[in-house]
């Protein structure tokens, strides 16, 4: 599965995107955030306040309780500041 990161989430994790193999027990967005936080200091720093992280599955906004089965691309980013 492809993960994409934007803005300060990207900077703290240190890469704009990566391919990951998720363990079977990672079922929801919330599970994914918890799993990523344990991958290293950058991840822990980026995801320290997980409630601040916005998530899109296959380019659509989702809530943290959304199930991720079948997703091709999951993006994590801060609240948007466009416009």
């Amino acid at each position: 599965m492809k993960l994409k990161y934007f803005a300060w989430v990207r900077e703290r994790i240190g890469t704009p995107e990566e391919e990951v193999e998720l363990p079977h027990e990672v079922e929801t967005v919330r599970d994914l955030l918890d799993w990523l936080k344990a991958r290293g200091d950058g991840y822990a720093e980026a995801l320290r306040f997980p409630e601040a992280i916005r998530v899109a599955i296959d380019q659509e906004h989702v809530r943290h309780d959304e199930r991720i089965a079948g997703a091709r691309e999951i993006a994590l980013f801060p609240p948007m500041t466009g416009g």
Binding site: Q59, P78, T81, G82
Partner: protein
């Protein structure tokens, strides 16, 4: 209800030409009574900023703007809608975003353009970073609570 128009949605690095964009909305038509356009510009915050740098999520940005536009088309009888959102480094005084809505009547055009902007602010995947006047890189702009409130007012809103 499907919108009776095809919104024109673009993200681009280059500056846009407001006159050309809005002229395209009305070209060859005489059923449009009102065009409301919004242009958002980069402010220098009392001289503090040299520029804003906009990062975006290619693909999702256009798709999400399209979803917002479809909602606007369901809510108001629009004859046309244009959204152009720039990314990259945008100097103070330059334009960042253009929304233009055309309709038979003025209230629909005003409300649709305002709705588009409120939802672009809170839902379109763009992030602004400050470039300071002293040449250094500043921080990421924080999302404003006022923008969430501006979006929220539409959930209680019924077009007249």
């Amino acid at each position: 209800m499907a919108p009776a128009f095809e919104p024109a949605i673009r993200t681009q690095r280059a500056a846009f030409d407001i006159a050309a964009e809005t002229a395209a909305l009305t070209a060859g038509r005489s059923d449009i009574g009102a065009v409301v356009s919004f242009c958002g510009l980069c402010r220098d915050e009392d001289g503090r900023l040299a520029a804003l740098e906009l990062e975006h999520y290619p693909g999702m940005a256009e798709a999400e703007i399209g979803r917002i536009a479809a909602q606007a088309g369901d809510r108001w009888p629009l004859a046309g809608l244009v959204v152009v959102h720039r990314y990259g480094v945008i100097a103070a005084g330059e334009a960042i975003v253009l929304v233009a809505a055309a309709s038979t009547h003025r209230q629909a055009a005003f409300e649709a353009a305002s709705f588009m902007m409120d939802f672009l602010k809170t839902r379109a995947p763009f992030w602004k970073r400050e470039h300071l006047a002293d040449g250094t890189l500043g921080g990421w702009v924080e999302a404003a609570a006022a923008d969430d409130e501006a979006e929220a007012r539409w959930s209680a809103f019924t077009p007249r």
